[in-house]
């Protein structure tokens, strides 16, 4: 359903995203994981045409076979409200502080459906109830600052699913929320995706969260996809050294903790993500990795069996006997 090929996002003379291939099947849920500065949000926003205006995007992004790059702004806007929903990290900032909540949800309906104000209002109440907000009839008359963080994020989700999109992009939807309401939002996203057969691109820095939500995972570093595959396969048998380090750095989350971190403290990844434009050539993780081999100075090849692929010259040993370092 979503097919990305040779996606490149540049800001000035710096390339912030370089993805040769990323696909998401209809109704699938994929987590896009990485540290700050890995390019994951930029990738997600580029799909929706919401990248910063300083950025230039090239390559190919197809949604249900339709090429999105190169669409004129009005056509892209139409795609956004109908086939594509987006929710953002900070629900308070993503809502207009001077507009009643109901009107903001209703706007998403009325932009794409010729319905009366009253019908839109009824649909809004329905939608809000659907995303688990009690007393939706009263909430529609409220302003964003009068709602709780969890309520606001539910309002944004209601807005995003108003026109039953085939793909929902969620950019760190729980990061700004209290821990106590995070799980509710995650459950809602999974539920909506399952019920409506809606694809979900879930952007997060938190492997533990991604694991509970999505079926596949793509790990980004330095604008590249380091490793991608089914979520259990990637987390239990990470092959890329960066994925391995990322998992090791994740704090254990009770039963969600991967076996790789049982019995040991979580580690930190040495150094910090380099500033833009100062990623080393070849493998971008070079310099922070600790498992470097001379080949790392060259771009690592795409490796791996089946759906689980990675780009690393010196991958971790696979758990099974099968040693596969075939170059595509």
């Amino acid at each position: 359903m979503l097919e990305i090929r040779d996606l490149s996002v540049r800001i000035g003379r710096h390339q912030v995203v370089a993805i040769d291939e990323l696909t998401l099947a209809s109704g699938d849920r994929m987590g896009l994981v990485g540290e700050s500065g890995s390019g994951k949000t930029m990738t997600a926003m580029s799909i929706a045409g919401l990248q910063p205006r300083t950025a230039t995007v090239s390559g190919s992004i197809r949604l249900n076979g339709r090429e999105l790059l190169g669409l004129d702004p009005a056509a892209m806007a139409e795609v956004r409200g109908t086939d594509l929903g987006v929710i953002f990290q900070d629900p308070l900032r993503a809502l207009n502080p001077t507009m009643r909540v109901g009107k903001q949800v209703g706007e998403a309906i009325r932009l794409h459906q010729r319905v009366s104000r009253r019908t839109a209002r009824e649909q809004t109440v329905e939608l809000l109830t659907r995303v688990g907000l009690d007393d939706a009839g009263r909430l529609v008359g409220r302003y964003p600052h009068q709602l709780s963080g969890g309520q606001r994020q539910r309002v944004l989700i209601a807005t995003a699913i108003a026109c039953e999109p085939i793909l929902l992009i969620a950019d760190e939807p729980t990061t700004a929320l209290d821990v106590t309401v995070q799980q509710g939002i995650l459950d809602l996203l999974v539920e909506l995706s399952t019920e409506q057969g809606m694809g979900l691109l879930f952007v997060s820095h938190d492997l533990g969260v991604v694991r509970t939500v999505t079926s596949s995972i793509s790990v980004m570093y330095g604008g590249h996809i380091a490793e991608t595959g089914p979520v259990e396969s990637v987390i239990q048998q990470p092959r890329h050294r960066y994925t391995e380090a990322l998992i090791a750095a994740s704090p254990g989350r009770g039963e969600r903790a991967g076996p790789a971190q049982h019995g040991r403290r979580f580690r930190v990844i040495e150094g910090t993500v380099p500033p833009l434009g100062s990623f080393p050539s070849g493998c971008p993780f070079r310099g922070r990795c600790g498992h470097e081999v001379p080949d790392c100075a060259m771009a690592p090849p795409k490796t791996g069996p089946g759906p689980h692929v990675f780009r690393c010259w010196n991958p971790t040993a696979p758990a099974g006997d099968e040693v596969d370092a075939r170059t595509h």
Partner: protein, 318 residues
């Protein structure tokens, strides 16, 4: 909202009272005996005493103050000492012209500022934006009265297109009234328009990067339509906050422009009173000017609450 409006109104009344006391006090504190100021230093003692009796300047100050306040409320402010006109009546006659000048130039400046300021914000990084910003700074730097003089020199004297001054009332000759107001309103709008343009630009720069603009786009709006539907109202709040400060200079600008274009408004009247040392007239007129500023402030204050529900809620809690 009603309670908040009531409180704003109470603040307005309080500020007006403080303002009246300040004007009244300042005019008396600086010179002990204003009878001498009015009559002139070399006036005969008897004439000064006569003036004192006539204006009741021998009474205790608060009696005079209350008397003046009462007069303001009743609309009876006495007569001009030098020219003999009825002060309150003159104010009533001239008020309309001064207010039309102020309101018309405010509207023109705002319309200009919203359009140009938004454009400048959208292009703030490139040459066009920078050029507009410099032009705005230049507009702020040009003295208002000089713009008026230049317009008179070129448009009225050289080209003869519009009258160089004077005023015919709306009732007598509407076209003539408009013709006589065009240059003064243009003159006033240069400074205010430039000031407001910079405010709008800066408010818009903030708005353009707001997340709710992006989420409006996510609902299916283009950038421009998202800014138009969600940006303007949010941008209006900070513009109003600083715009209030420009109102005082707008009103004094009106006074100066009335002098340049020989328009019979309150500003001309005030200046004449100042130059002929008519303390009583100055006192009432300055208060009227302060009152106009305070009323505009009050209206802006109400506007914030209407525009931003967060301010409304914060106030009703406080």
């Amino acid at each position: 909202m009603g309670r908040i409006a009531l409180r704003s109104f109470a603040v307005l009344l309080g500020s007006a009272l403080v303002g009246s006391l300040l004007v009244f006090g300042l005019l008396r504190l600086l010179r002990g005996d204003i009878a001498w100021v009015i009559a002139g230093q070399d006036a005969p003692v008897e004439a000064v005493q006569e003036l004192r009796d006539e204006l009741g300047l021998d009474r205790p100050w608060f009696v005079q103050y209350v008397d003046w306040l009462g007069g303001l409320v009743r609309g009876d402010l006495g007569q001009s000492y030098a020219s003999g006109y009825d002060i309150a009546e003159q104010i009533r006659i001239r008020m309309g012209l001064t207010l039309s000048l102020a309101v018309l130039s405010l509207l023109l400046s705002l319309a200009f500022a919203i359009a140009v300021g938004t454009y400048a914000a959208l292009h703030s990084g490139d040459g066009r934006g920078r050029a507009l910003d410099l032009t705005a700074q230049l507009g702020i730097s040009i003295p208002t009265f000089w713009i008026g003089m230049l317009l008179i020199s070129f448009i009225s004297i050289r080209m003869g297109w519009l009258p160089a001054g004077g005023y015919v009332s709306w009732r007598e000759d509407p076209v003539g009234a408009i013709r006589s107001l065009i240059l003064p309103v243009l003159t006033l709008s240069v400074h205010l328009g430039a000031v407001l343009t910079r405010y709008v630009r800066s408010a818009m720069l903030d708005i353009l990067n707001e997340d709710y603009i992006r989420s409006a786009m996510a609902k299916g709006r283009t950038f421009g339509s998202a800014v138009a539907t969600h940006g303007i109202r949010n941008g209006a709040v900070p513009v109003l906050t600083v715009g209030v400060l420009a109102l005082g200079s707008l009103l004094t600008g009106v006074a100066v422009v009335e002098v340049v274009f020989s328009l019979p408004g309150l500003g001309r009247m005030l200046l004449d009173a100042v130059l002929s040392r008519e303390v009583i007239v100055v006192q009432s007129l300055v208060f009227i000017f302060i009152l106009m500023i305070l009323v505009l402030n009050f209206l802006m204050d109400l506007a914030y609450g209407l525009l931003d529900p967060r301010i409304r809620d914060k106030r009703s809690v406080a």
